[in-house]
């Protein structure tokens, strides 16, 4: 019995060093050598060379001249240190009330748009950090963005279409648009939004609806 315990303890130590230290350290070394950009967060920069976030992680947008992401249940919204879904079930009154409030906000912010609202815009994602919208959910907001930026709707839709990513290998996943990359493309094409301009949008505090 004692020898079994001793073997168990020794095996614990040996396998721990092998799989808990040597393995992750080797992966880290190779990853930093081969794919440093990806291994460290896939950062993206704006036109001025400032890092504005990760291409993989969603962030809050509230100004009228930007496309808005899905609602988020991560922290107080797109908190990259507190990923989470809402975990509200289909018979939840809270979910119904939240969706109704989102719908009301979307109608208020997009008065020119008729037609049903794409479901992504009233539902929270699983991670709360979903960087994407469906192409329909982006196009739905295009009229607001075009009006806020004073450009033709057609030109904004062209930017959206240029950024639509199709299914991987034609079958995997769903077509989508990365909201951060889309908004950066808008800034590149039509010039950046003026910093915290009071007449343009909601002032840039994330998680708050526009006035």
């Amino acid at each position: 019995m004692f020898s079994t315990f001793l073997t168990a303890l020794r095996t614990c130590v040996v396998t721990m060093v092998l799989t808990g230290l040597l393995y992750p350290l080797s992966v880290t070394g190779l990853a930093q050598l081969l794919f440093p950009g990806e291994a460290n967060g896939s950062w993206v920069k704006d036109g001025r060379g400032r890092v504005v976030g990760s291409a993989l992680i969603g962030q809050g947008f509230t100004r009228e001249g930007y496309f808005h992401p899905r609602p988020s249940a991560a922290g107080s919204g797109y908190d990259g240190a507190a990923s989470s879904g809402s975990n509200l079930g289909p018979t939840s009154l809270k979910l119904k009330e939240r969706a109704a409030a989102e719908l009301e906000r979307l109608r208020r912010e997009n008065p020119d748009v008729a037609g049903p609202v794409p479901a992504e815009l009233v539902t929270t994602s699983a991670s709360g950090l979903d960087p994407h919208l469906s192409p329909e959910a982006a196009r739905w907001q295009a009229a607001r963005v075009a009006r806020a930026r004073g450009v033709a709707l057609e030109r904004v839709l062209n930017v959206v279409d240029a950024l639509v990513e199709g299914r991987t290998f034609g079958v995997l996943g769903e077509p989508r648009v990365n909201v951060l990359l889309l908004n950066l493309a808008l800034d590149r094409r039509f010039g950046p939004l003026p910093d915290a301009a009071p007449g343009v949008g909601g002032g840039g505090s994330p998680g708050q609806g526009a006035p």
Partner: protein, 573 residues
């Protein structure tokens, strides 16, 4: 449901089918055969490691010795993982300065990772240091999977070894099995797989959390860490414990539909391949394919059901009106959509993985029912690494017994008679699962400590309870994650359920192996019931479904099933 969605599902299944034979043959070669790859490089490493572990003699063990080794190893594993969490504030690689984990949570997590469950009462990014994630959790992700493979091999040896004139009592050596599975299977596959994940955008660094400013000028903190190395073994070892709270829904864990496909494939790869390995051990690969076929039937039925359910609109949103729903998108990521989320849910619960890429708590009632049923079938639909094979072999014992009763012959399997002792042990194995699942669910449903943790009211609340104990006892680890399980009551009861579901099922499985291994092999005669054909596969599927349904249907009818009808009637809580 769409054509493209089904194409995705069938493509996935075709890939599983494609890897089963080559990987199964490789597993047979390195775990049962004599020829291992790179003998001049890995051979000395293997010998050195076994010498350091104190098992260089590779002595064959009886079932009692095998089980004792497993239990001793698991006991030290729990103690070490507990200790590392309690002391993480004193240990290196903790750039966020996270404090020591509380005792009940540390107990729950230690048991959870040792039992290959990876139930998580905590959120990774706000609770555990990089050191704890790597040294405690990634380590257990490897060795708990390797131990599962060991038990499956031991049971398979019990059925397939042919006793010589002096009889046969031994089932292999636990330490050698664990080392071979780690060194020749899990580590090399994970090394390649982790680098693939990094190439797609999964993090692998030791940086502190980044403090950035968004395009609109708000501040945003992004959690960092050595994610890819852990992600690889998380799915390949059917562990399922995410580095971050959102698990495989987090874009830093599972950034693209391509990584999503590979993650699902890696969850099924080893459990599927082990059926082929088993066929090789039995000297008749049809025996393995019969198990694979039974698993596939159950899996595809589950996928179809969950996909059909999730393609429906969410009733809570339809009632709000004016929303265009192509399916239930609450708790799902745009890049996967409904089809890949439904498929992932079926895969992760059929195999006892428990990683999630969508929040099961927000699934439609019937969409949430399927993952629960997958687990309640006993995690035999491919199941955990190793656990799936030993689980379905116990179901095989039940099936041949029932077939024997029908034709009035002593049941036999692979030429060995199944007798009273094996049947008692198989029944013990079958009964332990509902005992912990339903016993604790009943308790939690009436105690204030149980119901105060619920996130949803009405029948969905009961689903949260039932899902939690099902997942814990089945060693799955996924959750209806709205449940706040980080309370002393939930941490302790779930910890006990996970221990019961792991070890009180492994030990009877090993005991069956011990009593089968020495039995004489009777040559097949005209009255022998063949265990490789369609008839047997059908019987096996029926036995699995009937045992699961009889046990859990009453509880399920009070939770997701009644919720389905209430949701249809527009009732909200």
């Amino acid at each position: 449901m769409s054509f493209i969605g089904w194409s995705q599902i069938l493509l996935f299944f075709a890939l599983v089918l494609a890897v089963t034979k080559p990987l199964g043959a490789y597993l047979f070669r390195v775990l049962e055969g004599d020829t291992r790859p790179l003998p001049r490089v890995l051979g000395p490493v293997e010998r050195l490691l076994l010498r350091l572990c104190g098992s260089a003699d590779r002595r064959e063990q009886t079932w009692v010795a095998y089980a004792s080794s497993l239990l001793a190893f698991s006991l030290f594993s729990v103690l070490i993982v507990y200790g590392l969490q309690r002391a993480q504030h004193l240990l290196p690689l903790n750039p966020q300065g996270l404090g020591a984990v509380g005792p009940e949570l540390a107990f729950n997590t230690a048991v959870s990772f040792t039992a290959n469950t990876n139930w998580q009462s905590y959120a990774g990014e706000s609770t555990l240091s990089y050191f704890t994630q790597m040294v405690a959790l990634a380590w257990q992700n490897f060795v708990s999977a390797a131990a599962g493979i060991g038990v499956a091999l031991a049971l398979a040896r019990g059925f397939t070894r042919r006793p010589g004139p002096d009889g046969q009592k031994t089932l292999g050596n636990f330490w050698v099995d664990v080392m071979n599975a780690t060194l020749y299977v899990l580590l090399p596959l994970c090394l390649v797989y982790a680098l693939f994940l990094v190439s797609q955008g999964v993090l692998q660094n030791f940086a502190p959390y980044s403090q950035g400013v968004t395009l609109e000028g708000a501040s945003q903190t992004l959690a960092q860490g050595p994610v890819a190395s852990q992600e690889a073994i998380k799915t390949l070892g059917t562990n399922g414990g995410g580095f971050f709270n959102a698990n495989s829904a987090h874009p830093f864990e599972n950034p693209t539909p391509f990584t999503n496909l590979v993650q699902m494939l890696s969850i099924f790869a080893i459990p599927a391949a082990l059926t082929y390995t088993y066929g090789k051990m039995a000297g008749d690969t049809r025996q393995g394919w019969a198990l694979f076929a039974a698993m596939s039937v159950l899996f595809l039925a589950g996928v179809a059901a969950v996909y059909a359910a999730e393609a429906q609109a969410n009733p809570a949103l339809s009632a709000a009106g004016q929303v265009a729903q192509a399916g239930n998108m609450e708790g799902k990521e745009v890049r996967y959509g409904v089809a890949a989320s439904a498929l992932f849910a079926a895969v992760t619960t059929a195999a006892s993985c428990g990683a999630v890429n969508a929040m099961h708590d927000s699934f439609t009632p019937l969409g949430g029912l399927v993952p629960m049923v997958n687990m309640q079938l006993g995690e035999v639909v491919f199941g955990g690494v190793g656990a799936g094979l030993y689980g379905i072999l116990v179901m095989v014992v039940l099936s041949v017994f029932i077939a024997g009763l029908m034709v009035g012959r002593t049941p036999e399997y692979l030429g060995k008679k199944i007798e009273a002792r094996e049947m008692k042990l198989a029944m013990l194995y079958v009964l332990v699962f509902p005992l912990f699942t339903l016993g604790f669910s009943g308790l939690a449903a009436v105690l204030p400590q149980g119901v105060s943790s619920l996130n949803n009211a009405g029948p969905h609340g009961l689903s949260e309870i039932l899902y939690a104990y099902t997942s814990g006892t089945a060693n799955n680890g996924s959750a209806f994650a709205g449940l706040n399980a980080n309370t002393p009551f939930w941490n302790v009861t779930l910890g006990v359920a996970m221990l019961g579901g792991r070890f009180l099922m492994m030990v009877p499985a090993l005991a069956i192996a011990g009593s089968m291994v020495g039995k004489k092999v009777v040559p097949a005669g005209p009255g022998t019931f063949p265990t490789h054909g369609v008839l047997f596969t059908g019987l096996l599927v029926s036995v699995i479904v009937i045992v699961g349904a009889l046990t859990f249907f009453p509880a399920l009818s009070l939770s997701p099933i009644v919720e389905h009808f209430l949701a249809g009637a527009g009732k909200l809580y």
